[in-house]
């Protein structure tokens, strides 16, 4: 029992590692902000393209979505970070992560948006168009607000996934939370910094996970 506590919950080591981990956490948050914003924007664009009446646009968007849903994000990351330099494109770890996750996240967010838009009844568009709103106006004022409300829990749970995903950046030596924690582990020969990092992820994500659960329960009990 004692060795267990010494290995995983060594308070002294945690205190030592704390400043380094906080620095990592700040990087994680920065990364999240950029990646989530890119993912949401890209996802919305892709979803609209995937629902476009123009066949070429529609099929390229669907192809893009399926391609990047099928590739593990870590594979994308390694490809962007270690593969692209062979073609003369050398990226800083931060931007490699942003690009790789943009490809992955926008595909996932696009699926969510698409489901949300599909769930808005046709009559809504028809009513809006009949009252003289243009196509884009109908989309912005009538369809999207309802679509987003439809899939809010999914958007939120997808966002949780994105935050978790940023831990993969440690693989390409970006000094975010997990990377710094693992560094502290290898210096101290002790796993407590990893446990501390886990605690920090929990502080950030547990409330969100609770909200998602509550939300889904609320929706399901209402019908």
């Amino acid at each position: 029992m004692d060795t267990f506590i010494q290995t995983f919950f060594n308070i002294d080591i945690m205190m030592q590692a704390f400043p380094l981990l906080m620095k990592g956490a700040v990087m994680t948050l920065k990364l999240c902000a950029v990646v989530i914003l890119c993912g949401l924007t890209g996802g919305l664009m892709l979803a609209l393209a995937a629902l476009s009446p123009r066949r070429f646009l529609r099929w390229s968007a669907i192809g893009f979505i399926d391609l990047f849903r099928a590739l593990p994000p870590l594979v994308l990351l390694v490809f962007v970070y270690s593969g692209l330099p062979f073609a003369g494109i050398r990226l800083a770890p931060f931007w490699a992560v942003v690009i790789a996750f943009f490809l992955n996240n926008s595909a996932y967010f696009a699926e969510v948006f698409r489901a949300g838009i599909n769930a808005v009844p046709k009559g809504q568009t028809e009513a809006a168009r009949a009252t003289g709103l243009s196509g884009p106006q109908t989309l912005i004022h009538v369809v999207l607000p309802q679509a987003i409300r439809n899939v809010l829990p999914d958007l939120l749970s997808n966002t949780v996934e994105v935050v978790k995903l940023t831990s993969l950046a440690s693989v390409v030596s970006l000094s975010e939370l997990l990377y710094n924690a693992n560094m502290a582990r290898s210096v101290t020969y002790n796993s407590s910094p990893l446990v501390l990092a886990a605690g920090m992820y929990l502080v950030l994500l547990w409330p969100l996970v609770r909200v998602v659960s509550r939300y889904q329960r609320g929706l399901s009990s209402s019908h």
Partner: protein, 222 residues
């Protein structure tokens, strides 16, 4: 031409193809083991939660929350490095199998439980009123309906979790990504990475298409 040479070098492909095919087997095996364990454990936990034992339910909820909130890579590192310093050397394969199974169990427990709570009370009552026990009602009537409702999100979650087998590369499991990464550094060519991407596409594109099909089918069925 230089692009082809870099990403589709024929000689490199031939050299590493056998290794990669073997690695695909490892990935598939790991994925299959994870799926079976994760879904069965998730279903068992959801059914256990029906019994309504306060303490048990509290632990199930905490377990599901933690496993859904923590990045799997953090869990993998804690288990892999922490256990070895406790003198318990788990192989990389075992660590990935345990962590991904736990994660999938947590998500599928939530999916099944969400399904169970959305089953109308009348279904339980009809079962009980015809003399079936709680367990029989759960097993024959409500759980099958909950599972059916849960299929689309479950398929998506299974896809997401099995793709995480690529994390095995971080702790030396000889799956697709780690085999191709080391091939890339040995050969000094990006081609093995392209091969890895293609290998994953061969495995997962059919799965993605299947998930679309299932989503459409169950969307209209309910």
């Amino acid at each position: 031409m230089r692009f082809l040479e870099t990403f589709f070098n024929g000689q490199v492909i031939l050299n590493y193809l056998p290794d990669l095919v073997h690695a695909m087997g490892v990935t598939l095996g790991l994925a299959a083991a994870t799926i079976v364990t994760g879904i069965l454990c998730g279903a068992a936990l959801a059914c256990l939660r029906v019994a309504g034992l306060k303490v048990v339910n509290f632990f199930i909820i905490v377990f599901a929350d933690i496993m859904r909130a923590l990045p799997p890579l953090v869990l993998i590192m804690i288990l892999f490095f922490g256990m070895s310093s406790l003198g318990l050397n788990l192989s990389g394969w075992t660590v990935i199998y345990i962590v991904l199974s736990l994660v999938l169990a947590a998500f599928s427990e939530e999916i099944f439980w969400g399904g169970l709570t959305s089953i109308p009370a009348g279904q339980w009552e009809a079962g009980r009123a015809t003399g079936l026990s709680r367990a029989q009602t759960l097993f024959h009537i409500t759980f099958p309906q909950a599972a059916r409702r849960g299929i689309p999100p479950l398929v998506n979650r299974v896809l997401a979790t099995t793709k995480l087998t690529a994390l095995g590369s971080v702790i030396g499991v000889k799956e697709i990504l780690s085999v191709s990464s080391s091939a890339q550094s040995f050969s000094g060519s990006a081609t093995p990475l392209t091969m890895a991407a293609i290998a994953y596409l061969i495995i997962f594109i059919p799965a993605v298409i299947l998930s679309h099909w299932i989503e459409r089918r169950y969307h209209f069925a309910t």
